[in-house]
């Protein structure tokens, strides 16, 4: 999987490069709009991460030019502009997704997975992490043959964590995808923490092996073994 990152802030480029490489992506970086446009038109990429405010050439301009030339590569926009109009403009110009800075890396990683998976239907209905199983059809959660009673919210939360098993899930992702909150500025963080604690109480507490882990400062992960 080859990803092109067009971004002018060196520290951000560095972090994205290292983060994505550790997840076994091949990453090429461009630090100006012109360079990025040149690379995008001369090489084949599976995904482009595009900053909007670039020196030389504006991100939206590059995106529009690429789409005019028939380039179908999925584009994920990274920007600090988060007003609704800005998002609409970006998506109208042909972007596939939109991520507002400062973003949490687990979120970027999840979006990349979603975009590169797009087209291939992979809506699993059963999940399994170690000895914990979840069935979306019967809505049953079973661990070591023992059925666990969950509330609707807890089930939804666990399902989301299992879909992203092995990957960190941030509070922002949970707030947006599980609680469907439009605004980032709500009092949801506390609510999420309480629900995670309750879920842990039901799923992990009675068992020796702990699966639901907190990654300090980042979020939560459902995983066997160490984080």
């Amino acid at each position: 999987m080859h990803i092109l990152v067009i971004e002018d802030e060196p520290k951000v480029v560095q972090a994205i490069l290292q983060g994505l490489e550790s997840e076994n992506y091949r990453v090429t970086a461009a630090v100006t709009g012109e360079e990025g446009y040149f690379l995008a038109t001369t090489q084949a990429f599976d995904l482009i991460l595009l900053d909007l405010m670039l020196p030389g050439r504006d991100g939206l301009d590059i995106l529009a030019a690429l789409r005019r030339q028939g380039c179908q590569t999925p584009v994920l926009i990274l920007t600090a502009r988060d007003a609704i109009e800005d998002r609409v403009v970006g998506l109208d110009a042909g972007a596939d997704d939109y991520l507002v800075k400062p973003f949490a890396f687990p979120e970027l990683s999840a979006r990349i997975r979603a975009l590169t998976r797009r087209g291939r239907p992979e809506q699993a209905l059963r999940f399994k992490v170690a000895d914990l199983e979840l069935d979306c059809v019967t809505r049953k959660v079973v661990r070591r043959g023992q059925e666990i009673e969950l509330t609707a919210k807890e089930f939804h939360l666990l399902e989301y964590l299992m879909r992203h098993q092995g990957h960190i899930v941030s509070r922002e992702m949970l707030g947006r995808d599980v609680w469907e909150a439009v605004d980032r500025a709500t009092s949801l963080d506390n609510v999420i923490d309480v629900h995670i604690a309750r879920l842990r109480q039901k799923v992990d507490a009675p068992f020796k092996k702990k699966l639901l882990k907190t990654v300090r400062g980042m979020g939560f992960v459902l995983k066997e073994g160490k984080v």
């Binding site: 980032r184 709500t186 949801l188 506390n190 609510v191 629900h195 300090r216 980042m218």
Partner: protein, 451 residues
């Protein structure tokens, strides 16, 4: 055009002088013409009386020229018979101009101006009984000179009056404008640092006093805003710097001494990320408020079931109350439809309710009510608790940005102090109002009114 560039004082002086000049001119002209007319008719009657005397003497004398001497030599007249002078007085003879009179132009009155500016009024008459033609001259020089000197006095008085008007105007305008000068001086000295000062008000009932009073009220509001801004800056820098300080010092300490365990590094980085998250939240909240300040937020107005929305918010936050063993009760009127923006309303409600749960002690009570107001005017949402309550003096301030009742700004209990500011913004753009009210017993009552 030129007037417009002058000071008010100069303009007042000039207008004053102009008006005085206008009035004086009208009065003087009136006086002059009145006096002139009166004197003219006086002269006329004197001429008639003089002539009549001569005529009477001639008639009484029976045409005897010798009797004319009784009239004396000072009166100027000449008597002709068949165009030949038969008698003339000494005064007539001595006046050299009399010889050049052309009688045709005296019909029956006339006047003669001599080379040495003497004026004579003339009257011609005829006594048919004796065929005498009489020509009488009256010296009107003195009377006419009075009219001339009156005109002279009046004309000379105008510049004097004008100077007096200018001087008077100068002093009067100076006096009237002196409070303005005092106010100007004072206002020049008022800066952002001395906003507590006020302009002098001598008489609050006159126009200038009223103006100064209005200015003082403006200064009062400005002072309030500045004070709020000062507080905001202080609180904002505290809230923004605290996480930055944590990030910095945790990073510095981690780098300074070699940590032998990877877990210790993870701990340090995790702690830095937590602070970053806190900062991100704060910046997000500030951006919501800043956007609300700068332009009208785009509202997606739609008719929604307010009760259902409140119920949703309650269910979402119920876990927080449960964690604190609080009794979260609700009394929601059914089928209340309002036209509002759902997301901003949800934001407001969840901020208010979150606040109530957060600041109420473990085991406390929080109650949410939605009801149509008794007067039928709009809806009231009341969120009350039996927590510590808000002192009356702080009830308005809690809606200010970064304002917290807890001056120590403890981080364990409470956020950055933006929640209620956002709630008020969100309620107000939905056309409502929000305030904290008195409540029976301890605790807080937050009432939101929607039209």
């Amino acid at each position: 055009m030129i007037l417009r560039n002058l000071s008010i004082r100069s303009r007042l002086i000039l207008w004053n002088a102009f008006v005085v000049l206008l009035i004086l001119s009208i009065v003087f002209l009136g006086v002059y013409f009145f006096m002139k007319t009166r004197l003219d008719s006086l002269v006329q009657s004197k001429v008639d009386i003089g002539y009549k005397t001569i005529e009477d003497v001639i008639k009484n004398s029976g045409g005897d020229i010798c009797d004319f001497y009784h009239l004396g030599q000072e009166i100027m007249f000449q008597v002709k018979k068949e165009s030949k002078p038969v008698y003339q007085t000494g005064a007539w003879t001595e006046a050299p101009w009399t010889s050049s009179l052309s009688e045709e132009r005296i019909d029956p009155y006339g006047s003669w101006q001599t080379g040495d500016s003497r004026l004579f009024k003339l009257k011609r008459g005829y006594v048919p009984e004796y065929d005498f033609a009489i020509l009488y001259a009256f010296d009107a020089s003195d009377t006419m000179a009075s009219v001339g000197s009156l005109a002279l006095i009046l004309v000379a008085g105008i510049p004097v009056a004008l100077i007096l008007a200018l001087l008077g105007g100068f002093f009067l305008a100076g006096r009237a404008l002196s409070p303005v000068k005092a106010i100007t001086r004072k206002a020049q000295d008022i800066t952002a640092e001395s906003l507590s000062e006020r302009l002098p008000v001598n008489n609050p009932h006159d126009e200038i006093g009223h103006l100064a009073g209005v200015f003082n009220e403006t200064l009062g509001r400005l002072e309030g805003s500045f004070e709020q801004l000062r507080r905001f800056t202080a609180d904002a820098s505290h809230e923004l710097r605290t996480p930055l300080t944590s990030i910095r010092s945790v990073g510095e300490v981690a780098l300074k001494r070699p940590l032998d365990e990877i877990a210790a590094y993870r701990e340090a980085i995790g702690s830095m990320l937590e602070e970053t998250e806190r900062l991100t939240h704060m910046v997000d909240n500030l951006l919501i408020l800043a956007r609300g300040d700068t332009r009208k937020a785009k509202l997606n107005l739609a008719s929604i079931d307010l009760g259902a929305l409140i119920q949703e918010v309650i269910e979402e936050l119920r876990v927080l109350a449960e964690e604190k063993n609080q009794d979260l009760s609700a009394s929601i009127e059914k089928n209340v439809e309002v036209k509002i923006d759902k997301e901003t309303m949800r934001l407001a409600l969840s901020n208010i309710l979150h606040n109530a749960i957060l600041y109420t002690q473990t085991g406390g009570e929080v109650d949410v009510r939605l009801a149509t107001r008794s007067d039928g005017e709009g809806l009231a949402i009341e969120i009350s608790d039996n927590g510590p309550g808000i002192p009356e003096s702080e009830r308005n301030r809690v809606f200010e940005r970064f304002y917290r009742i807890d001056k120590a700004r403890s981080r364990a209990a409470g956020g950055a102090g933006l929640g209620l500011a956002i709630a008020r913004w969100a309620i107000e753009i939905n056309g409502g109002s929000i305030s904290f009210r008195d409540k029976e017993g301890p605790g807080t009552l937050c009432r939101t009114i929607l039209p």
